[in-house]
Amino acid sequence: MKFLVCISNVPDTTTKITFTPDNKEFNKAGVQFVINPWDEYALTRAIELKEAQGAGTVTVLNVGEADTEPNIRKALAIGADDAIRVNAHPKDAFFVAKQIAAVAKDGGYDVILMGKESIDYNGFQVHGMVGELLGIPTVAPAMKLDMSGNTATLEREIEGGKEIVEVNAPFVASCQQPMCEPRIPNMRGIMTARTKPLKVVEATADAARTEVETFALPPAKQGVKLIPAENAGELIRLLRNEAKVI
């Protein structure tokens, strides 16, 4: 089977978030970028399924500028066979989905895997949009994905429970734990990744539908009010009478 895994390039989870002086853009200075943590589940599961099938390919796809290539190479080192970068700034979810759908249409992929959401934009959008653009189902967010022939069995998380869903390829799934144990690159992987194909393609002419006007940080906390442990019950009184939350 042909797997397409979409990865986004996001600030490391420990990053202290700051913005450019006009508050219009995220301040990238000194920030370490990583493969979006959820996308690691998608990547590893695609590789596992390919290995189990004993045939097929895993292609990774990123919509981004040249500075995302180290993480694309990392995905190749983890075990993807080849990569495509759509050379564009990922303007918004719609723009990204259009790029992914265009690549997917040309490539004839059977299974398109993504992460649950990008931890920078937190949109939970691109997978649904791509499914709709291609006219195929999206199962999001999926906690489990097994394939038997052309049919996939997935566990979809819903509030308070899960659904067991069966769909036939082609389909889109957005992945989250506990789907698999994300792999890390080994030495051999890192060596072979250097020579695996990474194709750069130009973006379609689609415009974005949303635009960030300003970013802001949440208001700072007032500071913690400490209650002595001996007098723990006092906390409950404060939560009722002062904070009024219980």
Binding site: T13, N122, G128, E132, G160, E211, V212, F215, G233, I246
Partner: protein
């Protein structure tokens, strides 16, 4: 022109988050000088749907097709798109839930609408623009986002806006059918497995949350968390390492790579407050931290704190809640 709100129901009741969505939608309708219609999905009763009038809804559409009781992305999308067309909806409001956000993304393509998820405030419409505030960077920031075009979709984050409540006001409930076919049910679930609630509260819908970390030492001590949660009527949650080693189920794990919660009260017991954990909880209204290490980073994000041993403090808190009740 109208505003369409998508209301999720479960076991005959309208979900609390959907009451907030309905209230959001009716306030947007008022801003735009129009009315808000609701389309209900899931298992609903006519009586409960009519009560959406209390949230300012003028009319409720409902398709009683039994296969719509469970979430089916394809069918829900078609149903809501049909309702949007019928009502000539300019703005569609849904919950930022796994259901709402998933349907919203498909709808945005089908209806050629712009969309923002994770929205935390009513829109600003000065100067002919339509701007919403949404959470970004895993709760570490907010973004004001302009939604372009003629149609807009907004997925509202739970607990970020107050539900309206005009007691006794009702809305007419109309049956509505989108002529769904078998093909629309391609992603229908074979089976739905709900968590064993055992009288407890579901985490994604909870107003109060008691959460434990590695400081709890082992699953055998979770009765301390559960006792306090029960006394408060709270849901239980945990940090990632706790679910990684199976002390607690995965669906209780909150944080950047778990679920995001925004309850009125989050009580963290024996959790250090790593940045990835905070990302999932820092939009809680009030945060309480119990940790024996006064230097634990979580205290910086807390409103109230107790420097102490969870094994000593938790029983005292449970006792105090029981006395209060």
């Amino acid at each position: 022109m109208s505003v369409l709100v998508v209301v999720e129901c479960d076991g005959g009741e309208v979900k609390k988050s959907s009451l907030e969505v309905a209230s959001y939608g009716s306030q947007v309708a008022q801003m735009l000088g129009t009315t808000a219609t609701a389309i209900a999905v899931g298992e609903a009763t006519e009586a409960n749907l009519a009560l959406l009038g209390e949230q300012g809804i003028s009319k409720v559409l409902y398709d009683a097709e039994p296969r719509l009781k469970d979430f089916v992305n394809g069918a829900y999308t078609k149903l809501i798109a049909a309702a949007a067309q019928k009502e000539e909806a300019k703005v569609i409001v849904l919950a930022n839930s796994n259901i709402g956000a998933a349907v919203g993304s498909r709808l945005s393509i089908r209806l050629e609408a712009s969309i923002a998820t994770n929205v935390v405030e009513l829109p600003k419409t000065d100067g002919g623009k339509f701007v919403v505030k949404r959470g970004a960077f895993s709760g570490k920031a907010f973004a004001d986002v302009e939604l372009a075009g003629d149609r807009k979709i907004i997925a509202v984050k739970k607990n970020s806006i107050e539900a309206l409540h005009e007691a006794g006001k009702t809305a007419p409930v109309e049956s509505f059918s989108a002529q769904l076919t078998d093909a629309d049910f391609a992603d229908a679930p074979k089976e739905v497995i709900m968590q064993d609630q055992a009288g407890g509260v579901l985490l994604p819908e909870a107003d109060l949350v008691v959460s434990g970390g590695r400081g709890m030492k082992g699953p055998e001590n979770w009765n301390l968390i559960e006792d306090l949660a029960k006394a408060l009527g709270a849901a239980t949650a945990c940090s990632k390492p706790v679910s990684d080693v199976d002390w607690r189920p995965h669906h209780e794990h909150v944080g950047q790579t778990g679920i995001t919660v925004s309850p009125n009260l989050y009580i963290a017991c024996g959790i250090s407050g790593a940045i990835q954990h905070l990302a999932g909880v820092n939009s809680s209204k009030v945060i309480v931290v119990i940790n024996k290490d006064p230097e634990a980073p979580f205290f910086k994000a807390a409103d109230y704190g107790i420097v102490g041993d969870v094994f000593d403090v938790l029983p005292k808190l449970t006792e105090a809640v029981k006395q209060l009740n």
